[in-house]
């Protein structure tokens, strides 16, 4: 879809970003072991092999969120997307993967094609997500994840959505990761994790 576009439009940019989030969230779930590795299957995207879940419920949930997110990206009303990983036993938030979104509404109509460079940037971000596993503390207990979206205050909350707290980590370490831009949307990535006593 985006490959055929000669330039980047708002709709194309929203789709690119939504696609990135879908694959990025899947990568995070696979890397952090939130769901068992055997429930993931390998697909090729952005010229690299990524893991995609086959769990029907999870897939359904992700498509719901991503489709709603795409709409909001088109309206430029979304500010952040956060993947919150909670320990089920202690109900503590152990990790927060935060993606800040900056929407440039003053974009000019189709900018010259930079799809390859955007793809390169997305690739490096996903590679970095994979690489962060080396320094993030192990998730030994059973964990579950949640997707939070930071939007403008005056946005109408759809039916199945509700307001929630930010689910911050108590005593966190933050690491800024790479960012990528489609000239209309800019995505900054960062990960915050609970400080363990041993580190």
């Amino acid at each position: 879809m985006s490959k055929t576009l000669k330039g980047i439009t708002l709709k194309g940019s929203a789709e690119l970003v939504a696609e990135f989030f879908s694959f990025g969230i899947n990568s995070i779930l696979y890397q952090r072991g939130i769901y068992p590795a055997e429930t993931f299957t390998r697909v090729t995207q952005y010229d690299m092999s990524l893991q995609l879940t086959t769990d029907a419920k999870l897939k359904n949930y992700l498509t719901n969120v991503i489709s709603q997110l795409k709409e909001w990206l088109f309206d430029c009303t979304v500010q952040k997307l956060v993947v919150v990983i909670t320990c089920l036993e202690t109900n503590e938030v152990l990790e927060r993967w935060q993606f800040d979104l900056e929407c440039d509404k003053t974009f000019f109509l189709p900018d010259q094609c930079k799809y390859e460079s955007i793809q390169e940037e997305i690739r490096s971000v996903i590679r970095q997500i994979t690489a962060t596993v080396t320094f993030l503390p192990l998730l030994e207990t059973a964990c579950a994840f949640d997707l939070l979206i930071y939007t403008d205050k005056d946005l109408e909350v759809p039916e199945q959505w509700e307001e929630s707290g930010p689910q911050l980590i108590d005593q966190s370490e933050e690491v800024r990761l790479r960012s990528f831009t489609t000239t209309i949307h800019k995505v900054n990535s960062m990960v915050a994790y609970k400080r363990t006593n041993s580190t």
């Binding site: 999870l58 949930y61 719901n64 969120v65 500010q79 952040k80 956060v82 919150v84 909670t86 089920l88 036993e89 202690t90 109900n91 927060r96 935060q98 800040d100 059973a142 579950a144 994840f145 949640d146 997707l147 939070l148 979206i149 930071y150 939007t151 403008d152 205050k153 946005l155 909350v157 199945q160 959505w161 509700e162 307001e163 929630s164 707290g165 930010p166 689910q167 911050l168 980590i169 108590d170 966190s172 933050e174 800024r176 960062m190 915050a192």
Partner: protein, 645 residues
Amino acid sequence: MDDMEDDTTIFSTLKSFKSLISCPDRSLLETEPAFGRSGLQNLYTKRVELEEAAERVRSHTNLLQLTQEKQQMELSHKRARIELEKEANSSSRDLQREIDRNRELLLQIRRLEEREEKANQALNEQMENNKALKRNFEELHKKANEKDSKLAEADQMISELKDETRRLNQQIQIQESKFSTQNLEIQALQEQLDVQRKYEFTHTQMYTIFLIPSNKCICTLERRLALQEQDSVIVKNMKSEVARLPELEREIKRLREENTFLRETKENNSLLREETEGLRRKLERMERAMEEKLKVEKPEDLSREVIQIQQRELNLKQQNYTLNSSIRSVEKARTELMPEIAQLRAKAQEEQKKRENQDSLVRRLQKRVLLLTKERDGMRAILESYDSELATSEYSPQLMLRVKEAEDMLQKVQTHNTEMEKLHCIVFVFLRQKIEELESERQQLEEQNNILEMRLERHNLQGGYDPVTTKVIHLQMNPTSIAKQQRTEEVEQLRVECQRLRDRLRKIEAGGGMTTDDTTLIIPPSQEILDLRKQMESAELKNQRLKEVFQKKIQEFRTACYVLTGYQIDITVENQYRLTSVYAEHMEDSLLFKSTGPVGSMQLLETDFSRTLTGLVDLHLFHQKSIPVFLSAVTIELFSRQTVT
């Protein structure tokens, strides 16, 4: 566990009995030699009963195994129950902890919110302070700029004043120099006056002293005047001589006119000569023509013409001669006049030169006269001043006044300068202090700003947001909430199970043995298990009864053995039999036998008591190799010992 031990002892005794029964003759003979037939019959019946019992027991081994399994299951159930209880306890504790943590977290959240609000308020206040300070700073800056401009103006004023002061100083210096020169002159003149006063003889002497130079001056003037007069006489002479000049000029004019006239006559002469030459040629031609014509024309005409021509010729010659003579005379006159003219010209030039010299002399003399008159006037003034004495001098008070005015101006300017400088210093110092304070404030505010910005950045990184502009939403049915729900459900289920198990435990403990469970376990009981349970219950009962019976019998048998053989046989360890004699002197005296092999052969083990019976051991065991004999010998020995003592 005691049941288990009893079972093992029962099994072991059963095995031993089986082994004994398997060799019935030997065992019966060895163990029960004193029995009669009735005893054998009893034994047989007992043996039959025992066999039946054994058969029963065999048939019940399966049941016992089942019971074992049941007990194991019970144990495992107990363990599971215990673990579940523990888990329930731990989960209840965790629940309580979670509740506490929840409360604490809520409190923390409230506190953090309060802190956030406070921080925001502080931020706002700081921002407002920042703005106010910036405004103040700008105002102060403006004021500083105004003051700088004022300072610049003051500086300009100062510079202008300084220029004026310089000018005034210069004027003052000039005037001072003039004053000093004049003072010097005054001093000189004073000295002169003093000198004069020193030589105060009379006015006339002063005058004469004054007059000497004046006289000298007058003498010089007179000399000059004399010279002037001489010069004037010379001038007069020269004037008279110069007066001759016009006459000479008139003569010159006359001579020039004569010259011109003579030149004209000369020209006329030349013209006339040319005419005569022309006429001569004509004559010649005429003569030729006449000669030619003479041949043709009459001689009379010719003679007349010739005569006429001759007359003309004569006239012309006369004229020529007269002209020549006149020319010669004129030339002579001219030549005579030429030197006179030269002389007169030379004289005129000399006189002109003289006149010029005289004019220059006159000018010089006139200048000299002017100077002399000025000197004379000056001397007259000096004389007048000396006349009026030096007390009142006209020009110094003016100078003094001017000097005083200049000094006053200087002082005013200096005081003004010093005041301005002081003011400037004060203002400078004040402004510098203010600027330093403002700069330090600004630095502090900048640092605070940086710190707040860093905090905001950190806040943003950690996931904080501004509740006024942003809100956080998520799907209601999200994996975490689903997982939490599942967890709570699991916990509930575990609690319920725990409760059930606890109730079952209580019932089991209250009921004792096997009771029908009203509280059904998770696994629904099948018919086989119920039957087996009933069988197990019945088997248990039977087992118990058998045990009791067996115990009784064993006890009787053992007491009988003890009484009859005189030895109490205990099985301490597997295959080891401890024999204690009835006549033993001490309680600890015992013999240990170990069973080696399945046949029933025994070996004596070393004990303290056996060491005391080494003789008997050697005799009966090593030589005779008979344990019963040995035992009886020991009994006899002990009995003999007892009875003797």
